[in-house]
Amino acid sequence: MADRVYIDADVLILGGGTSGCIAAWEARQAGGDDLKIVIMEKAFIRHSGCLSAGMNALNMYINQGTPEDYVAYVRYDICGAPIREDIILSVALEVNDTVKLMESAGLPMKMKEDGRYLNRGKWNIEVNGSLLKPITASKAFDAGAEIYNRVYITELIIKDGSCVGAVGFGVRDGKFYICRGKVTLLCTGGAAGLWRPNNRRDAHHRIWYFPFNCGSAYAMCKRAGAEMTSFEMRLVPIRTKDTFSPTGTMSIGMGAPMVNALGEVFMEKDPYYVSWGGHTAPTPIRMLAFQRETLAHRGPIYLDTTKGDPAKVTGLKGQYLDMSPCIVLYWGCNDIDPSKEPIEIDGGDPYLVGAHAGMSGAWTKGITRETTVQRLYVSGDALGAAPSRFISGSWTCGRIAARHMVKALKENSYQFVDIEEGVCDTLEERTFGPLKRYQEKSAEGVWSDGTLMTGITHKDLESRMQKIMEEYCGGRTHWYFVNETYLDIARKHIKRMRQDQLQYLCVRDLHELQLAWDVINRLDVCQLVIEHMSFRKETRFPGYVNRTDYPEPDPEFDCFVNSVWEQETDEVRCFKVPYEQVVPGDRKKQSI
């Protein structure tokens, strides 16, 4: 048995990232000095997560128009598909206030001559965000939150339909952490690494999304029996070739258009793309156009920086240094000068995100951010059906979640719930399982290369999972195509891995135990993705998921696809949930 650490919190925050840190701050404002706020963080809070490399823009800001106009824009950018307009609106109403708050925390804003923030396109503002994470974390310190670094949370504790805490292991100290929360906020990010990345071997983590976000929020919510939403609505990104750096800096920042090998600006030429808005068409449509141009043998495809605003090309390297410095080195090593030649782009491996141009996550009640499991809240990428919140919107969601948590805490007078010793023992055994198994199975024989005769590694499982998802669930090399036959094969293999193969997973140390849990969580997310994709028998987000057996949108599916996992049968039960339009207007048009 490991040494145990017992932690009690009024507000328990799992994940000290973009929304978790600001949630702590807001909880303090709303809940007063006596509130005990705890953050559990798997890395080091000042430099962890998606913001660790920095970011050069905040992609949600109401520069113009109204919060309702932002909702209309988000809806349009997802091809008019159903989104939770109530949630997006609640964020849009206070995102500007949040940005002010972060400016006062030390974030350097770029200003225009008229004293307003320097905008990039309609809804974005530029910042010098290389220290975005330390600045974000400073709000958690200001709040006096108790922060535990290097603790990997493995499971929520559910009792009588309520979340009463969580358990995990110390990545450094190997202790077993048992946390009780009167209310719990789960915000541990989205999921990368389900599909095979474009770069192999020593560059396999040279991907766009943060590779250490493995969908633990989704997996833990699923296992807790929470209602999940939109796992068929993954994000398939177009990014710079090889480095997979963000492209908005060039496409929105300097108006660089996509061109094909013939130099054609196809978004402005093909009537279908033009009907969607041309150069600024919805994100999935731009991805679709990239796919079609390449499949028609008109690749490679570029962002033509030579056709953009020449005044802005000079600042390009500096902007990338604030966010994705490796591309500046890449350009230097490969003799690429973006002012003289276009920049090649590529389709990346798909991701599950809730706060970017994807909408997977937990379903929540109204605008409370409370899941269908009582006392369990989600924010950031873990919050489903509300895309395009990005960093500024995730900060804001943290605030909104925190206020609702504090309110519920007071109104319901929630108390700590006793967790039986037997429950703790079971969870501990499960948490340390792969580590313990290594010792047991070592006795059964070791090959001359040091690997176990009766065990498999986290890397083995990851490779197998990524191969299956790549080849049978619409990976990059399959041009994101799926049909029911492919999905059946994916379903069969992922089920077998989850039900039968995890018993052989063995790891040698605490670092590897973290990686083992990453793959356990990813496999649970794979299950959600496959069942959701299979249920949505239509193509609503072309470019993201191309169903060759149902290539058109079907009005019957103009709704959310939600699901609940049944523990007894290990089945994911999918069902339709109606969409409610809050902001009137044409769903396939922007309002401004």
Binding site: S52, N128, I207, L321, L329
Partner: protein
């Protein structure tokens, strides 16, 4: 772009409970080699290239190097972290030098001094 540690500069952050690069790495990848007492990366292929370790190193012993499958030798990108800014020096494969000073904080507090 895995971090490479120069053993002639790295002193293992003696006096710290663990080296600063180990403290800050979001992927838990940096650690101390108990034999050499120098920092090493557990698995270079798992790095995301956020450069947090490179910026945090108090002895500038870490350089991030692109994987050869992606880029030619011998380009370099060196950040020098100041109180309210970071100065980047880019040296391309032909030795051409460019320098960029990027603001990191509005006011003079200690956010970037880990």
């Amino acid at each position: 772009m895995p971090p490479k540690v120069d053993p002639t500069k790295c002193d293992g952050c003696r006096g710290e409970s663990e080296p600063l690069c180990e403290q800050v790495c979001p992927g838990n990848l940096m650690t101390l080699d108990k034999d050499t007492m120098k920092a090493i990366i557990r698995d270079k292929s798992d790095c995301w290239d956020c450069m947090t370790c490179t910026k945090a190193c108090p002895r500038q012993a870490i350089q991030t190097v692109l994987q050869y499958q992606l880029a030619y030798f011998p380009g370099k990108l060196i950040p020098l972290v100041g109180t309210n800014s970071v100065t980047w020096t880019s040296i391309d494969c032909h030795g051409r030098v460019e320098r960029f000073v990027m603001k990191t904080l509005v006011s003079g507090d200690d956010e970037d001094e880990d």
